[in-house]
Symmetry: C3
Subunit: 339 residues, 3 copies
Amino acid sequence: MIKKLDELAALVEGVVLGDGDVTVTGVTNIEDAGEQDITFAVPPHLEKAARCRAAAVIIPDSVTEYSKPAIRVANPRIAFTKLLELFTPPLQVERKVHPAAVVAPTAILGQNVAVMPCAVIADHAVIGDNTVIYPHTYIGQEAVIGQDTVLYPSVTVRERCRIGNRNIIHSGAVIGSDGFGFVTIGGEHRKVPQVGNVVIEDDVEIGANVTVDRATTGSTVVKRGTKVDNLVHIAHNVVIGEHCYLTAQTGIAGSTKVGNYVTFAGQSGSNGHITIGDHCVFAAKAGVTGDVPAGSFYAGFPARPHQEWLRAAVGMYKVNDIMKKVRELERRLAELEPK
Amino acid sequence: MIKKLDELAALVEGVVLGDGDVTVTGVTNIEDAGEQDITFAVPPHLEKAARCRAAAVIIPDSVTEYSKPAIRVANPRIAFTKLLELFTPPLQVERKVHPAAVVAPTAILGQNVAVMPCAVIADHAVIGDNTVIYPHTYIGQEAVIGQDTVLYPSVTVRERCRIGNRNIIHSGAVIGSDGFGFVTIGGEHRKVPQVGNVVIEDDVEIGANVTVDRATTGSTVVKRGTKVDNLVHIAHNVVIGEHCYLTAQTGIAGSTKVGNYVTFAGQSGSNGHITIGDHCVFAAKAGVTGDVPAGSFYAGFPARPHQEWLRAAVGMYKVNDIMKKVRELERRLAELEPK
Amino acid sequence: MIKKLDELAALVEGVVLGDGDVTVTGVTNIEDAGEQDITFAVPPHLEKAARCRAAAVIIPDSVTEYSKPAIRVANPRIAFTKLLELFTPPLQVERKVHPAAVVAPTAILGQNVAVMPCAVIADHAVIGDNTVIYPHTYIGQEAVIGQDTVLYPSVTVRERCRIGNRNIIHSGAVIGSDGFGFVTIGGEHRKVPQVGNVVIEDDVEIGANVTVDRATTGSTVVKRGTKVDNLVHIAHNVVIGEHCYLTAQTGIAGSTKVGNYVTFAGQSGSNGHITIGDHCVFAAKAGVTGDVPAGSFYAGFPARPHQEWLRAAVGMYKVNDIMKKVRELERRLAELEPK
């Protein structure tokens, strides 16, 4: 594909700065850009991009002079995303059931579905139109998968779970494993049957090797628009709100309710049976131990407001100095005191 | 299934409070209960359950008046578990080797075994009676799987590992991957062959995407009755005692010996080559760095007795105030001191 | 296999102490050693090994008297590794494409390759000589796998990723899942296409259930000789240097560049977009938040030099005592001050 800079600017609703006739054949990052690529830059990377090999650069519209042909836009990252979509069409996938796939006769497949070799679809499962199921993926009994969804290799969707439309489920993700529930009788941990399911709404992305446990009764829910990174654990009966980010290696314990637009940074976690309000942010490695009001930015373990935590985390390193000062004060004071 | 409350009370050895003729067709949690369901409640949820739609509620026998038909029992959670088992029989599984499974001619299968499509059983593996092997599960050469065990989709059991009776191994679990052992020779990390195996005793549950590494020599062991949650890592030559709980995302480093009835809460971890006594509890995110005596309750990193850690975790937030007080003391003291 | 101690000593370039005619049929650890096994010991385990059942012990050459037949060597661990290799040859693997494997007609397979049942190799993938692909492993379109590499069961290598020579990839590892990249437009998180790949160089080992995300553009790279333990997460556009150790459950956020010979201990992590110098060591659970100079040993979160962190971690536990002392000082000072 060959495009002139003018054409690309029109596509991303930007304004050309410099030569609009420059030709572009690809889009990539600053370091890898070749002489026919376009890249993007925001401060503090504008200078570096100006010196790279790229033919042109997408820059913020606040920049009015630039040493390379450029497209000025309100949000370079969004424009870059649009050009990535333009220059790199999705992989071609043959829309058929491969003869080495195993589809139960009672399963129902929509139009234009791809089921690749060694995928297994169990009895009474339902697969929506245009959905793509890669090799080694298992769809359990009575599970329902929506339309335009992609399940990459080795995904497990256990019985009766429901996956929405336009979902992307990455390799090794397990949807609907049993919740971790036991009662101890006479020193033995006896399993509490986990007879609920998992419901994943529309436009959700689930990362590689994520685990989402089925509910004891009822449903574990991940609401629409939420994005879950790799190796995240979501326990039974958890509800994750809409448009959340759960970054890699986060863990949410059982029955916790998370609001909308909540971000958990990497390796953070939440206690079970708590409620987290909308628009909260938890820093990396944070451990949430109780209810959190909407709009909070917390860090540490037990998690506290980020500014307080930051001061405390620095304060830790002052303790030994303080101890010295206190000893000195004790000495000086003893000298003043009547013997 | 339809049952009268009187019948259910007999089953769970409880006492009916109110109308014993009420009919029940299902069992679920308070929020999801419909008009023919039974649910359970313990303080502080008794009021909420009384107002929910359920036909009846299982309550502690200490409660003697209730506004809904109820069953009074010593332990409502145990009674609830029994009713879950009653109302939700396990999934029907066809007891046969599916033609799309691949079973080595030298493998030995017990009576009444299910091997689902795309499961692969390697040479000289042994599978016990009544065991169920889901699709995409791999049983390696000379591995031995006990009776009445369930291996969900995409489990890997590597060569010569031994899995006991009545085990449940969830999807994506890897049993017997190589331990992480190297010797560095001339700047290159050379692999130490990991020629031991993994032994998992009876009545163990292993969560989704758990990894249990094979021993360098000898065995990595998980003893009977232990329950392992999702995404836990158990390194080579570790021994986990009986009836332990390893909660999600816990990691146990190499050669550590864990006693019986030990609980690791979520995202906790242990150093290698240490010994942990029976009945220890480690709080979420704890990091154990040395031997721990039996009966300890530890938290933090390096892990210390929980009460000490709790005071220290609060103390961190006082450091800046203390610093201010110390400066004030210095000022006041200087005024008193002879110039 | 039966060997005399003299023969083994020659093999490991060591010196026999005691009877060189002792016969050895196996090699294992101190606890499991039987009467015809050899084991190894370094301080403080020399005494224990002397009392164990083993026929002989590999010991450091600094030890000149020993109560059992022994081999003295410079590095007992290296000698032990050589004997493990001698006594435990790798599993026999049939070098063929199993009829239940699914190999695209356009895929290219080298000499002496094993492709086991239910492995799936997609269009235009290339597999090097002597490489072994276990069941349920997926090699995506145009992916390239080097020579003498082993991919254990249920590995996913997504399209266009490149795996080097002499690699070992453990079960459940996912190479090339999409990076976690989104732009938020009107409250919806829109996916940034992840069109780069993953490049894993030679002599790398990747643990079970590890995830390595493909780059947004360009490549996520793991350089030669690096060893990655189980359940590690490597985000998009990360570069891991040569000969590193990433211990279990470590997470490296996007675009971070890690030098050579860097060690991340268990459950540690790094922020994204930072640079870490050669020969750094990060303690367990450390969280790196900014650039780190070569040769650093850091701990804690935010990570700081290990010695500082150690003092601070102890200091935390003194805060309440300090507070008491400060109150006492305030009281004493008030008594001295003029009313």
